[in-house]
């Protein structure tokens, strides 16, 4: 009995010892967890409850100059699959195939993958989200992202551009102003329960981000719409690959519209070809053709090598270093003043003017007008244009430049250059973004109008404008005339080399209150019978300009009908040889002549035309300090045929040529072929009958 009692006691002690040891182990483990290693477990527990996620900043809004939203950001749902939670992958894939633009196999492969979560389709439309939500598919959930949306659709799509799926700009202003528009992402830390719901009064910390800045454009939505509509209308009438229209406020360089076709909808940019995305007004170059004659005229007038009253001759062609350059009119324009040369858009006339300037001078003006360099509009992939290197330019190149061939420019360069003619000679930097609204944190970034340089004087600019007005009034640009408005402009038609394809353009200066608008219309790659700028681009310009003037409420002025006044008075040129340059110039200017001084000397050694000849009021008299300088000048030979003897002599004298007559009556033959350029010392024999 005692033995049994002892055994029982020992067993109790034994079990007690085991329980004690276990208790000690548990206690030690507890100390290990709660005291020694508490930080690690606390961290693990916290990690289970706390969720840290990036709060994407909202991309800035793009506004037009009337405050209309052109690009906004909207929350959009992304369809997410949680493969572990999907019960019946076949059925889920089949149902999703009906709704998403993804094949059954792709969906099935994705939802049966090893990933914890997988994006099926990002940023779906609200309607699609509601449809998927209604199906209540197990393991299919949604996450919210921000999607770029363009409420106006195609409007100004080439300017605004578009963003990719990650909300980064890929094209247009979305790309070039991405740093301002995109903002800075923030961070959010939230404590959640086992069901994933936010724990009230739990940990909730936020590292604030910064929303993108809003961008305000100079574009006027209505004018932009009108421009795009006119291009669409033109596409119904003519066969061309695309067009560009630029409407610029010449006073400050503001772009009121910049339209291109073909158009695309940035909301579905992937459905269009890359060709459609191009902003041809910025990215592409074209041969300006006759529209470039405005630059030649302005440069020549500024340099004083020509005045609107100088006599020029066009036998239908001109020879420059044995290369024949034809006028668009086969018969030529005969003898005409420079004002008429501009009005008739006469190529040989402009070649003569271009060659009167030396290479360095003309080249410097081309550069000064902003050709061959980026305009600074700050849009991606802006082309510089193509101007041959200075050393490669010879007389033939100089001659072709003068009527806008052999040179390539971007539409924006041309619009900016002509704006400088419209605004009194100041080359303005084209302005597309007026202001970047940085919110309340800092001052807004204001993009003030910038004058790049003064290219020509105000008087030259005004004179050029007057010459352009008569082009529209009674010259090659009559198709662009609008009754009651003094519009100046120039047509342009450039033929593609070795192809019957043309780039036709019209650029006009339109008075709009206290400022002038410059409107450029270009139709690229025109095919068919109708291709001249006057037949194609000018009517587009006219319709657009009439709508713009109506929209801006610019009333027509019916009282002062424009009519270019040409002073037909003739004055005798005095003998100035031997006089000082200063007194000779003063004397000539007092009489009403324009003077061009050649050489560095102080005494006049020779003059052109010679003394005693009656020349037009305000025509140019060249004074030389070296006799050789005059002899080096090449003068285009007119077509004397059909003229009476005395008329032929007068014309030759006005041009500085020497002629001898044989016979009487009308000229029936001449020893030098019309259009050839000869020295003033050379003699031309005229045969009369």
């Amino acid at each position: 009995m005692q033995q049994f009692e002892e055994s029982k006691k020992n067993r109790i002690i034994f079990y007690f010892a085991i329980i004690f040891i276990l208790f000690i182990i548990l206690a030690l483990r507890l100390v290990w967890i709660q005291v020694i290693n508490s930080a690690e477990y606390e961290h693990k527990a916290l990690n289970q409850r706390i969720k840290e996620f990036v709060v994407n900043s909202e991309r800035g809004i793009i506004y037009d100059n009337t405050g209309r939203k052109l690009a906004v950001s909207l929350p959009a749902k992304t369809v997410v699959a949680l493969p572990d939670n999907i019960i019946n992958p076949e059925k889920t894939a089949a149902e999703l195939t009906e709704l998403l633009d993804i094949s059954y196999n792709t969906i099935y492969r994705r939802i049966t993958s090893d990933a914890a979560a997988i994006f099926l389709q990002r940023k779906v439309s609200n309607e699609l989200y509601e449809q998927i939500e209604a199906r209540n598919l197990k393991g299919i959930t949604f996450t919210e992202e921000s999607k770029r949306y363009y409420p106006e659709g195609e409007l100004a799509s080439h300017i605004i551009g578009f963003t990719g799926v990650d909300n980064n700009g890929l094209s247009g202003l979305e790309l070039s102003y991405n740093n301002y528009l995109s903002g800075k992402a923030g961070k959010m830390i939230i404590e959640r329960d086992a069901q994933g719901k936010t724990i009230p009064n739990g940990i909730r910390e936020a590292v604030p981000g910064r929303d993108g800045y809003n961008v305000h454009l100079t574009i006027d939505e209505v004018i932009q719409y009108m421009a795009e509509k006119e291009l669409k209308n033109a596409a119904e009438k003519f066969d061309f690959s695309g067009g560009s229209v630029i409407v610029m406020d010449s006073s400050n360089g503001d772009l009121l519209a910049m339209a291109n076709t073909p158009l695309y909808n940035p909301n579905q940019f992937g459905d269009y070809s890359e060709e459609s995305w191009r902003n041809r007004a910025i990215n592409d170059v074209f041969e300006p053709g006759s529209t470039f004659k405005i630059i030649t005229a302005a440069a020549a007038l500024e340099e004083g090598v020509i005045t609107e009253n100088d006599i020029l001759t066009d036998p239908g062609h001109i020879y420059v270093e044995n290369e024949e350059i034809n006028c668009w009119s086969n018969r030529g324009h005969r003898s005409q003043t420079f004002a008429e040369v501009v009005k008739n858009s006469c190529n040989p006339g402009f070649v003569e003017v271009g060659l009167k300037m030396d290479k360095e001078t003309f080249y410097s003006y081309i550069k000064a007008f902003g050709f061959g360099e980026q305009s600074g509009i700050r849009l991606p992939a802006e082309a510089r244009g193509i101007i041959p290197e200075y050393d490669r330019i010879g007389p033939v190149e100089l001659a072709t430049f003068s009527f806008g061939h052999g040179i390539s420019v971007t539409p924006i360069q041309l619009a900016a250059a002509i704006s400088s003619v419209a605004n009194g000679g100041k080359l303005m930097q084209p302005r597309l973004v007026k202001e970047v609204d940085t919110g309340s944190r800092s001052e807004n970034i204001i993009n003030e109008p910038q004058i790049v340089r003064q290219v020509i004087s105000k008087s030259t600019a005004d004179k050029t404008k007057e010459l352009l007005k008569q082009v529209v009034e009674s010259g090659t640009g009559t198709q662009a005339a609008i009754e009651g408005y003094e519009i100046g402009g120039k047509t342009g038609t450039a033929k593609h080399y070795n192809e019957d394809i043309y780039d036709s353009s019209f650029i006009g200066i339109v008075p709009a209150g206290d400022r002038d608008l410059v409107v450029l219309t270009i139709l690229y790659d025109i095919k068919g019978e109708t291709y001249y700028g006057s037949q194609t681009a000018a009517p587009v310009f006219k319709n657009l300009t009439a709508n713009i003037l109506n929209y801006l409420n610019i009333k027509p002025d019916t009282k002062d009908e424009f009519s270019y006044q040409n002073n037909e008075q003739e004055i005798e040129i005095p003998n100035l040889i031997g006089e000082s340059f200063l007194s000779a110039e003063t004397s000539l200017r007092e009489k009403g002549f324009n003077v061009k001084l050649i050489g560095d000397g102080k005494i006049v050694k020779d003059q052109l035309p010679a003394a005693g000849i009656e020349s037009n009021y305000n025509s140019t008299v060249w004074l030389f300090s070296e006799k050789e300088a005059k002899e080096e000048i090449l003068i285009a030979v007119p077509d004397f045929r059909g003229l009476q003897g005395n008329a032929a002599v007068k014309l030759a004298e006005q041009k500085g040529l020497k002629v001898t007559l044989s016979g009487s009556g009308k000229v029936i033959g001449q020893s030098v072929y019309p259009g050839r350029r000869i020295k003033s010392t050379n003699q031309i024999n005229l045969k009369l009958r």
Partner: protein, 156 residues
């Protein structure tokens, strides 16, 4: 026997209760009991109040979170509606509706009529009768004036 002895002792103790010292202790004990109960009730109420407060705060926080979610949803909806409105009122849409649904057409060329308001209006007289020849009319006017003119009363 033993129990009986105890009972006797107990009886002697109960007798002791009747003493004045016992009364004082009894009151003291009762006071402590009341205080104890009061403290218990107070602590219980405090705990209940605290718990209910915490519950209230949690409920309010939950509601706040819910409202925040709703606000976010309403904001999203508002943004979507604003964009929808902008799309519907875009010039292209307006023109499409005007032309296709309302059968409107493009305006014909605008004609401007200029009204010249600078023209001097010259008063034309049908007959100019010299004043001296109008003697009877002058007398008539004078009589009418005398009859119709009333002199205001003066203070004097």
């Amino acid at each position: 026997m033993y129990q009986g002895q105890d009972y006797i002792n107990l009886a002697s103790e109960s007798n002791y209760l009747n003493e004045s010292s016992y009364n004082f202790t009894n009151v003291k004990k009762q006071a402590f009991t009341i205080l104890y109960i009061f403290m218990l009730v107070f602590v219980s109420i405090s705990i209940l109040l605290y718990v209910s407060q915490v519950l209230n705060i949690n409920q309010s926080s939950s509601k706040l979170l819910e409202l925040e979610d709703r606000l976010e949803a309403v904001r999203s909806k508002n943004e979507r509606l604003e964009v929808k409105l902008a799309s519907k009122t875009s010039l292209a849409q307006v023109e499409r509706i005007a032309k296709n649904e309302l059968n409107m057409v493009d305006a014909s060329e605008k004609e401007t009529l200029v009204y010249n308001n600078q023209i001097k209006r010259e008063e034309k007289f049908m007959a100019d009768i010299p004043k001296e020849k109008f003697f009877l009319a002058q007398i008539y006017d004078k009589i009418v004036k005398e009859v119709t003119t009333v002199q205001a009363e003066s203070l004097e």
